[in-house]
């Protein structure tokens, strides 16, 4: 699970929108490339001069005290909030939120977002909830159902194992209110996963869960990261969650104060936050 990503050792900041060379003549484009990103709300500066990159396949935790700007940062990365300074590139394309909403829609469809409060639609069944991103893309119903089943299998739902077709069908027809918190969050992860995103952004995914359910959810995220090579960015206060992260970005008062790479992840050669917060390994 803790497989080191060898291309990270070839990190550099050259090329378009932060392309990273894995080996001479070949480059890997970061999933996210932030350049002096800031956000103001009136006089208040919520984010200040954030510069870092997230490479494909990273499992990155964003942490910090309340009000540090973690969720704001995640919302910006999820193309659901705006920034006022700097530039954010998603797969080399600038995140444009104002004036070009179609770009934002396209980018949102490449991102799986997991909310702290799950945000499952209470009037829709599990099937319809998970299939929602697919129906927005006009995927046919049979294909959507198949992909929903696959996504649910990835998040170990239904919980009762082994789950036969009948159990799965029963589970698909249930409504969110009948599920436990852990199940709801895993359904939410399945919804984020079902459209095959490049990255999953999880905002305090265990914030509303007990320890056991938190563990289940984190295991699911780790499993998805490992098996499907999906980049995961996780905003969390939880040490339990941070243990799963290979890299930790620590924010304080809107500034990046630490960029910590876990022992199993090789640290990039190039500095990512020159003059800001520094980084430790």
């Amino acid at each position: 699970m803790a497989r080191p990503m060898r291309w990270m050792s070839l990190w550099n900041r050259s090329g378009v929108a932060g392309a990273v060379s894995e080996e001479p003549g070949r480059s890997v484009r970061p999933v996210y490339d932030l350049r002096a990103v800031g956000k103001k709300a009136g006089e208040a500066r919520i984010l200040k001069d954030l510069t870092f990159q997230v490479l494909p396949g990273e499992f990155c935790g964003i942490t910090g005290p309340s009000g540090a700007g973690k969720s704001t940062l995640l919302n910006i990365l999820g193309a659901i909030d705006t920034y006022t300074d700097g530039a954010v590139f998603f797969r080399g394309v600038p995140l444009m939120l104002t004036g070009r909403p179609r770009d934002a829609v396209r980018q949102r469809r490449s991102i799986g977002f997991v909310f702290q409060s799950f945000h499952l639609l209470p009037r829709l069944s599990v099937l319809d909830n998970v299939a929602l991103p697919l129906s927005l893309r006009r995927i046919s119903r049979p294909e959507a159902v198949a992909r929903v089943r696959e996504a649910l299998r990835s998040v170990n739902l239904p919980s009762r194992a082994p789950a036969g077709d009948r159990e799965v069908d029963d589970f698909l027809s249930r409504f969110p209110a009948t599920l436990s918190g852990g199940e709801q969050q895993r359904v939410a992860i399945a919804r984020a996963l079902v459209s095959g995103p490049e990255v999953i952004l999880a905002d305090e995914p265990t914030g509303n869960l007990d320890t056991r359910n938190s563990g289940d959810v984190l295991d699911v995220l780790a499993s998805i990261h490992t098996t499907q090579k999906i980049t995961v960015l996780l905003v969390t206060h939880s040490d339990q969650a941070l243990e799963h992260c290979r890299r930790i970005l620590r924010l304080r008062d809107g500034e990046l104060v630490e960029d910590i790479h876990g022992p199993s992840v090789q640290r990039p050669r190039a500095a990512t936050g020159e003059g800001r917060g520094g980084e430790t390994s």
Partner: protein, 410 residues
Amino acid sequence: MRLPDYLNWIRQDVRAAPLFALLNLMGVAATVCAVLVFLALTAGVRELMVDRLTREVDLLTLEVVLENRGGAVPADSVVALAWGSGTRSAIPVHATYGQLVTADGTGEVMAAFESYRPGPLGSTDERLARIPLLAGRYPASGDTSGVWVSETLFSTLFSDTVRIDELDRTGLLYVSVAGDSRVGEGSTQVIPVEVLGILRRTPHDGIVVYAPEPLVMAVKAMGGDGHARPDRVDLVVGNLESLGSAREIMRRERIVTRSVLDRIDSVDKLLLMVRVIFFVVFAVGVVIAVFNVVITLTTYVLQRRREVGVLSALGATRGQVQGIFVLHALLLGATGAVVGTGICLTVIAAARALFAHVDSLQIMAGMFRLSPVHVGSVAAAAVILSLLASILPSRFAAAITPIDTLRSDG
């Protein structure tokens, strides 16, 4: 999103608050029903009044008032003027009592003018059947090509202009004589003469009056020595175009005419006034109904604000978000139109059944005339207005950003 997804979303809205949805639907349906009943009623009233008017006076009758312009207009002048405009017959109508005396010198009263007072005249055929009385003899049954007249009467009537024995010679007067054609002065012998036309000098010199029956009978009735002085001549024309043509001729001569169309026009003006008044009332009702739809959809948007935000966060386009509420409005309008039409038909059927069983109200049973055009127009209007009502709420929904609704996550 595909149509079933939109419908599923709307179904969830309805299931979440069925009473609210039902009340909104009934609001649209009641408006549609009220408008349809009103239209049916005004259409029915018009038809009823027109029916009444045309039952008394033929639609193709032009009433020419002879006592006008400060003096009397000769009846035969009217007939002469009307000729050529498609006039089929002219019927003298007297407002005062008078007598038509035979022109054969016997002084026999053939008919009292009183019987020609305006009033229920019946059908054109019925009227035509009465005219030959003036000539003293009925035509053969079913014979509409000519009438039987007294040769004395005939020659007397036209003796000032043409001699009967000149008729064939001139070639301008189409008179065919069947049977004995002897004509003698003072003769009272009745011989069959089929009159197909008359050439007569009129006050308008040079006007040819070709008068097949029963026009010729009217001319005879109005001719003579002044015993017959109608106050009015009813010209019966072949079609509405002829009516307009005859009327135009009279207008040029400054002769006053009346037609049942004038009364129908008056009815239409009256109904138009009623319609305008009710239109204002209904316009207010429709505005309220539209406002109701706006409120309904806005309520749905507000209720599902967070869900709309989630949809947007998951990659829903503005069009997809708007589509949900536009389709909702479309369904509300269309269903309201169908339900409203159903209620309207039921109300009309019930009213007809009720009125039909009450003698004094039977006439009202026929007062509801609902045309498919009205139904289609009102249904289309309901749908279009509902769509218009959805513009603001759907734009409002599309303007909801994910961050607005998800911020509570902290």
